[in-house]
């Protein structure tokens, strides 16, 4: 594992060094704290995405499901006057339901994950726009935005959401590497037929992975709403590709069965550092999209080449 995350880690260091030379504001505590705060949404989506990619799948619906979860929880709170915890639970449930639907379509109808999630991505986007009338939901209860609040640690502002993200990474790492259920996720991604023949319930594993990914997207909507303080129907559009980029940059193979979830955290930070650094340099956001596109292709190329090298 140490070796597996070394490459992404060096990439992160290199990116930081580069932007430190380009802007003297980059390496300030204030700015790095901002990078971390901006990274939480992509970071938590990337956990769910890692699970899916480890099984040799892909989830294109991640960002849109996150946006839908955010709209559901903010509209439920504002329109129906639900207390924040119930509205939040409703948003997470809807995201989980989308994940479960993805899982059912992949395992039962046996459709390719790419097509299934391309479909649900559009469905989630459409529902989000229809339900919110493309309007931002404001005046949210205070409780709902609490995760976006910060506290001061050694003079640097730390968001509660950052702590939640780190906790979720720790939990996922433990389950993936230290429990049988986690190892079965790797086995299914590595060689589904072998996994089935040794008696691993491969369909249950896949279904669980997609549903759990939905739950993570739900948590991400919580943080998205918390950070921005509103229910934004146009959230999730950059996060969608950013999360996939983060996972691949973190060393998880798109061919499944290889990778560690901590790598995705590092990948998330790489993406975050690029966005933040380019903004500090005054590069327009269109170029940031361009850079993300190039990054993801480079990461996949590295994955492909290293896989050939291993054979």
């Amino acid at each position: 594992m140490r070796i597996a995350v070394l490459g992404p880690f060096l990439a992160l260091i290199a990116a930081c060094l580069f932007f430190a030379t380009q802007s003297d504001r980059f390496l300030t505590g204030e700015n790095l704290s901002l990078v971390l705060q901006q990274a939480v949404v992509v970071g938590i989506i990337a956990i769910g995405q890692t699970l899916v990619i480890l099984t040799a799948g892909i989830d294109l619906s991640c960002g849109m499901v996150m946006a839908l979860g955010g709209i559901i929880m903010s509209k439920f709170a504002v329109d129906f006057g639900l207390t924040a915890p119930i509205a939040m639970a409703a948003g997470i449930s809807v995201a989980a339901l989308f994940g479960l639907t993805n899982g059912l379509l992949v395992t039962t109808v046996k459709l390719p994950p790419f097509i299934v999630t391309l479909g649900t991505m559009n469905i989630a986007f459409a529902i989000t726009q229809l339900y919110s009338h493309s309007q931002t939901v404001t005046d949210l209860p205070l409780w709902m935005t609490a995760l976006g609040d910060t506290f001061s640690l050694a003079g640097t502002k730390v968001a509660w959401g950052t702590l939640l993200m780190l906790a979720l990474y720790g939990l996922t790492w433990f389950v993936l590497s230290e429990t049988a259920a986690g190892r079965h996720v790797y086995a299914v991604g590595n060689n589904p037929e072998a996994a089935r023949l040794v008696g691993i319930p491969t369909r249950k594993v896949l279904l669980g992975v997609y549903a759990l990914a939905g739950v993570f997207y739900g948590f991400a909507s919580l943080l998205s709403v918390g950070r921005t303080g509103v229910g934004d129907p146009n959230a999730g559009q950059t996060e969608n590709l950013d999360a996939i980029t983060a996972v691949v940059l973190g060393g998880t193979s798109l061919f499944g069965g290889r990778g560690v979830v901590i790598g995705s955290l590092i990948g998330t930070l790489v993406v975050g550092v690029f966005r933040n650094g380019l903004t500090l340099m005054g590069v327009s956001s269109i170029y940031q999209v361009l850079v993300t596109g190039i990054l993801v292709i480079l990461a996949v190329t590295a994955d492909q080449l290293s896989r050939k090298g291993a054979r």
Binding site: T179, R183, V198, G257
Partner: protein, 273 residues
């Protein structure tokens, strides 16, 4: 005086039958894969199963290992009637199967592969409540089993993809052998291996048999079959055409039976086992 001579009963040791199948039938739509297949595996033997493509040998193996449920017929393990609804049920009954090419997860370690689907958990709170795996114990047990079978792989923490093809296959065979209590079934374990690596796997199979586990070996490789098998089960058209004694006939004789060039009724008695 006519004293009836007492003929001593020829001293044929009764070799117990470990795994037996009678009249297995399996149809896939219009295709009849098994058409009344019989099967008999004795203790302490390597039984090779040969047959042309479509002769029903892989369907037979799937039925014996629980990967499919036959439409009709019965399977007995140690004389008891069994019905395997899944590979896990067969495994729990002590029948382990190792499938061609499909056996290992390449990016996972040797120890993880050995314990795939039957991982050991830690004792106490960590295992029961946090469901934490006991990595060290799995590594230790895997190392002991591999040493026992004299598979020349010493690091249990290296990933399987770093091993040679022969070593990989040895891991797959060892996994089956390490956990089987009654029967080990190997599907084409030497296919796609070089001469040296194939021999490595054959040596391993011999050691497994010598440890008292009967082995069913499905193979297309006649030299390997003749080198290692004690008896040869010939499948043809979904039935058992014959059980041959490899010491009493040549490879081309066996191929003639397999392809039907020698009809079952024309098989000389001394060929049969």
């Amino acid at each position: 005086m006519n004293v009836p001579t007492v003929h001593p009963v020829p001293d044929v040791p009764a070799v117990p039958v470990v795994l037996q199948a009678k009249n297995l039938v399996k149809r896939y739509g219009h295709v009849t894969a098994l058409d009344g297949m019989d099967f008999e595996l004795r203790a302490d033997e390597v039984l090779a199963v040969i047959g042309d493509n479509g002769a029903g040998k892989s369907t037979l193996i799937k039925a014996l290992s629980g990967a499919i449920v036959p439409d009709a017929g019965e399977i007995r393990l140690d004389g008891r009637l069994v019905r395997f609804g899944s590979p896990i049920e067969a495994r729990l009954a002590g029948v382990e199967c190792c499938y061609q090419d499909l056996a290992v997860a390449p990016a996972m370690t040797v120890a993880e592969n050995l314990f795939l689907g039957r991982e050991l958990r830690r004792a106490g709170f960590l295992g029961r409540c946090l469901r934490m795996l006991d990595r060290q114990k799995m590594i230790d047990v895997a190392g002991a089993r591999m040493a026992d079978l004299q598979v020349g792989i010493h690091s249990m923490t290296q990933t399987v993809e770093t091993l040679s093809g022969g070593q990989r296959q040895c891991v797959a065979v060892a996994r089956a052998a390490a956990f089987a209590r009654h029967v080990v079934i190997l599907d084409e374990p030497t296919a796609a291996l070089g001469v040296k690596e194939g021999n490595m796997v054959l040596e391993l199979i011999r050691r497994v048999r010598d440890k008292g586990l009967p082995v069913v070996l499905i193979s297309h490789n006649m030299p390997h079959v003749f080198e290692i098998a004690d008896r040869i089960h010939v499948a043809r058209l979904g039935r058992r055409a014959a059980v041959l004694n490899p010491k009493k006939l040549s490879m081309s004789d066996a191929v003639a039976v397999m392809t039907g060039a020698t009809a079952p009724e024309n098989i000389p008695a001394e060929w049969q086992a």
